[in-house]
Structure formats: structure tokens, C-alpha cells
Symmetry: C2
Subunit: 136 residues, 2 copies
């Protein structure tokens, strides 16, 4: 019996998803990942952890995974990104300036600023990126 | 010279915050934490990483830290939470059902459902929690 089960107060322990209550709980690596194939992206994959399809009305949470040397395209959009670095290290390029980051850093990418993420480490770079639900 | 600096293409490397561009980048542990003192909370602290004060119009990102045995209050609100477990293990209680979780799990907490987070591990529990900007 795991520690979580021993700590149960009600005995009503669930495992995995419970969409009956409209909630969703899972390990991020269980969500399938897709390659990002837009121009300017290299070695980028994404897992959509939470989105409008799950009933999240306001914003969506994605996990990006960049292979060694990988980068997102240099791009701009009107909405903000909110990013948290889970693993690895890299450079955040914003309006021509480069900002080094590592695990446990967070980044607010304001709307309308040209930016890119680049993996400069020797292993995978993984980061969460939250966007408004309708931003696509 | 660090790897990030060696990898610089433009030489325009910045360190720490760059509020001039409206962006914000920092290590989460550099953001001061405050105790959560509302009724039903025990051993809970929060760091507001990104909020409306930083110019984030749509949503806010907070890092919650629960001491061993700590828990958030059993509470309900109309908006969704989006959560990512950074460190530790615990139980997510939602509408009376208990869902064990550990690092790298994500949770969509739908609006209007009574819920609580509880640290059931033997060390700190840390998780990101994203809410709409106006949810407070």
C-alpha cells in the first residue's frame, strides 16, 4: 500500500482520470506528444495537457519538449505566454535580446513581442506553456 | 563562460528581469513567498510568479508550497484551476473522492467543484496553479 493510500481519510481513492466530475488528473508523460511542424521550428514536440476539449474555458496548458539543439520559431502573437521550465536549459530570445534560463525559471512572454525558445543544453528541454483558451 | 553564453548568437545576453520589454524572467525561488492564512489552510505558502501586476492580462501563475502534513482549505469557486506538480506527492480531494498524485502530474480542477490539496509525503509539496487574472 502506497503512502497516498495509507493517508486516505475516506477510502474513496481514484486512480487516473475522473472525467465524471469534469476534472482531469494524469501524469504528463501519459499524454501523447505531436511534432510541431510549422516553419522555423526544429526538434519541437508538444503535449496538450489541458485544453478547451477538457472543459477548460479560460486557458490551456501545454508541455513542450525540445531536443538538443531544437528551437521554436521566431514568432509574435497578441496574447501572453506564461512559461515554467521543468527540465533542461536554454535561451529565451525576446526582441533580439537573449535570456539564459534553467529548470525552475518562469517566463512571462508579453503579447506582441517577437520571441523564440532555444535548447542550449546537452539533453532535452521541457517547459510548460500556458495560453488563453482561444489562442490556438 | 556558461553554456548558455557560449551558445549566444547575438552577444546580447541579459540576466534576470527585463521589464523594459514587458517580459519577466526569474527563478521561482527568487520570488518571495507569503503564508496562506485563510481558514482551513495549514502549512501553505504561495509565491505569485506572474500576475496582473506584471501585465499578464488573462491569467496568473502561482507556486504553492505545502509543508509535510499541510493542506489547502476545502473550497469552491466558479473558475478552473490548472495545476502541475513540481515536487512531492499528495492527495487531490474533489467532490469527496481522493486522487493520489506525484511530481509531473497535472490536474484540471473544474469550476464549481469542492476540492483540496493535501501533502501526504515526507517532504515539501510544490505545485504550480494557474487561475484567471481576475479570480484573485
Amino acid at each position: 500500500m502506497g503512502r497516498a493510500e495509507k493517508a486516505s481519510l475516506t477510502g474513496k481513492i481514484c486512480k487516473g482520470k475522473d472525467m465524471a466530475n469534469g476534472m482531469k488528473i494524469d501524469k504528463s508523460s501519459n499524454v501523447s506528444k505531436c511534432p510541431v511542424e510549422i516553419a522555423g521550428a526544429e526538434g519541437v514536440e508538444v503535449r496538450w495537457l489541458i485544453s478547451k476539449d477538457d472543459g477548460a474555458e479560460n486557458f490551456a496548458m501545454r508541455m513542450f519538449e525540445l531536443a538538443e539543439g531544437g528551437h521554436t520559431p521566431l514568432h509574435t502573437h497578441p496574447h501572453e505566454h506564461e512559461v515554467f521550465i521543468v527540465e533542461g536549459e536554454g535561451l529565451f530570445v525576446c526582441e533580439g535580446l537573449e535570456h539564459p534560463f534553467a529548470a525552475e525559471h518562469f517566463i512571462l512572454v508579453p503579447g506582441g513581442k517577437e520571441h523564440r525558445f532555444k535548447n542550449t543544453g546537452e539533453s532535452i528541454l521541457r517547459f510548460l506553456c500556458v495560453i488563453p483558451a482561444d489562442a490556438g
